[in-house]
Symmetry: C2
């Protein structure tokens, strides 16, 4: 039978929205938002979308009017009653009442703030200026909108069956990856792919395929809306924006050197257990860990998000040992440019020495490489980063100079303060 109501309803939409919920975002944005809400409610920042892949001419692929429609639609969204109930009543990382009533009251009233959009040559300049607690919420939906509008632009004009076969091939590819992962007895893999997904429905499919194919070895999704709907764990902890803003706000070199540890001190007040995961690479993993106070070695784990993952993993294990910790009780989370081969390599290398988690992102939810000619559907490296805080430029060094951000002078100052020397560049796949 034809579902007439759905058809009529579909026709009445002005647009086909990409983001349809305030919580179609990564869980760590909510954890960070609550932390910002408590510690930095008045800080003002600017976020900016940066396309690291300048061979992808977004402004030629995506119509500005369509992009504005999508962003404007996001500005009409509010937390729904059911979503609020879920945030208030669900257990996250085994705990109830992860979010304070104060924070949730604020979140219920939240609306996405204004955006600034301008075309610059073949790229868009898309920025968000205002209170940190509000602008931070734009990161993930802004990226998801640009990624999906690009997918739609490439797929436009394809036949219905040609499209179905395209998805058939992509499904087969994801499933073959899952079948390979299933051979790793204790692997723990989560979906981290919201921001660079091919599309919402595709991410939702990938999550369900992981649920069926990996069972207990699938540990959850970073996407709150999908976690709610599919009744799986919402996962994630924190990101570089915290140390970047804390560092930008520092009034002296001494305060700057201390800023990344202050992030963890604040975080430790807010969250415990498996949410205490150190993200050490913002200003160089090695220096950060070497100078870290001992209480940081007590944390549950470390997330390795840039540099050579094997080298950094070895370094972290060695660091734990030197700090009197037992690495076999500690958690290493890998989340940089993962695909099956790399997960297998890291699993073989570390699984008998440490607990492992894999945050699998772009190459889970957007691996259409080679399925359309000329790589027109290949994933690309799009980020949305905080670029200033209370009027001061932010800086990121990373363990990979290709992920660094900041003006040359500021980068030089940060390198000096954090004692970062020469770095090895790693090609960015995504």
């Amino acid at each position: 039978m034809t579902d007439i109501a759905t058809r009529v309803h579909n026709r009445s939409w002005k647009i086909d929205p990409i983001v349809r919920s305030v919580i179609d975002t990564d869980f760590y944005k909510l954890l960070m938002a609550q932390s910002i809400f408590r510690h930095h409610p008045q800080t003002r920042v600017t976020f900016s979308v940066i396309n690291r892949s300048d061979d992808v001419p977004l402004a030629r692929l995506i119509d500005e009017g369509e992009l504005r429609e999508q962003l404007d639609h996001i500005r009409t969204l509010r937390l729904s009653r059911g979503e609020s109930t879920w945030l208030r009543g669900n257990t996250f990382y085994g705990r109830r009442w992860m979010f304070d009533p104060d924070f949730l009251d604020w979140f219920e009233g939240f609306r996405f703030p204004e955006y600034h959009l301008e075309r610059r040559g073949d790229q868009y300049e898309l920025t968000f200026e205002g209170r940190w607690i509000e602008t931070t919420m734009w990161e993930v939906p802004a990226l998801a909108v640009l990624m999906e509008l690009r997918s739609r632009a490439v797929l436009r004009g394809m036949g219905k069956f040609e499209l179905q076969v395209l998805y058939a091939r992509a499904m087969t590819r994801v499933w073959e990856k899952i079948e390979r992962l299933r051979r790793l007895p204790n692997v723990a893999v989560a979906d981290f792919g919201t921001r660079r997904r091919h599309g919402f429905l595709w991410q939702d499919w990938c999550v369900q395929a992981m649920m069926e194919g990996l069972g207990e070895r699938f540990t959850g999704t970073s996407n709150c809306l999908i976690a709610l709907r599919r009744e799986v764990e919402a996962v994630g902890t924190n990101a570089h924006e915290l140390p970047m803003v804390y560092a930008a706000l520092a009034e002296s070199d001494a305060a700057l050197a201390e800023a990344p540890y202050q992030v963890l001190a604040d975080w430790q007040q807010d969250y415990m257990g498996n949410l205490r995961i150190v993200l050490p690479d913002t200003y160089g993993t090695r220096g950060f860990l070497e100078r870290a106070p001992d209480w940081i070695a007590n944390w549950t784990g470390v997330r390795i998000d840039s540099g050579d993952p094997v080298e950094n993993g070895e370094f972290v294990i060695d660091w734990w040992k030197r700090r009197g910790q037992d690495p076999s009780t500690k958690l290493m989370i890998f989340s940089d440019g993962l695909d099956v081969e790399l997960i297998e390599t890291l699993y073989r290398r570390f699984s008998d020495r440490s607990l492992l988690g894999f945050g699998w992102g772009t190459l889970l939810t957007n691996d259409f490489r080679g399925l359309i000619g000329d790589g027109r559907l290949d994933p690309f490296s799009l980020v949305c980063k905080v670029v200033s805080a209370n009027g001061r430029e932010t800086v990121k060094l990373s363990d990979n100079p290709n992920k660094a951000m900041g003006s040359p002078d500021a980068v030089a100052r940060y390198k000096r303060v954090f004692g970062v020397g020469d770095q090895v560049a790693h090609r960015l796949v995504v």
Copy 2:
């Protein structure tokens, strides 16, 4: 939105029927039925299902109760008003009023006659006894039911996403075949895959994929219901059952030798143009054509359904020339065990010398080879053949002894009468 009505409706079905329409059958059954209706309305025959692949233990795979439910459901079907309208009003092979009002009045009242089902070891004995005009209608639905129940038995217990990926792989395979066929500029391919299809929905998908992928090079489907719903040509002409029954009814060796030509004489009264396709292999292609009267060389074309297709194709072209015909105006239809490789080979060999048509069956609508372990979804060779007429045994020789039927004595007599000597056996894929 959830389509509640569909869900409730689905729950109210006793079974999930495989055949839901009297015209979910091959078009040539209707053409033959009309011919039988005119020339042999009182002839009584027995049809029998024969599983040539005895390594597929149908009675162990398929529950007898389920099989009976499906067959009983078919016995409740009647031609619907819309189906009757289509048969009365549609053009077939470019002509209106292909079917007489008398025949259609009969068809509107038609119900499938009784069946006889018995388990014999790991196989079922399934036979249909009664008036030819009625029992003949069982052939295609009986095969489709057995094929689809076997598919369902193999797929039972698979996960939802595992299933989706299975179909994704099968879709990719079909599409890659279509992409290869698209490279043959003037190819003309039709779906002949109803009887051994993986399932109804799958055949329907394959037809639609051919429509999109091949455009004008897709010449139609043998399945009337799909032709009606997808608004494509219904195609097909006649089958071995006509000469087999005519031969069985012959009262002498002389009449037997004449019987296959009598089939064509009757057919010529009933149909013209592209429906005049000789099926010469029932008792050996070469002898049949050599002894054929000249008016048969005037027919539009020849269907090559057994033996070596290249050799038989060459023979037919040579025969046309010897009979003063221009092969480039004649049509050769290949329909035996086709897959893309063979279509390409035959196309390259014959397309500049003759008009060509390809009736692509099992390896279009049921190519799941290797997609499930142990070949448990591989197609197999199931047929439903007329085994007696007015109490007399039928015989088929074919150009391939693996397709022959009949008791040794009867086969010996037919070989003598039709002058058939040694034959080369060809492996039956399907």
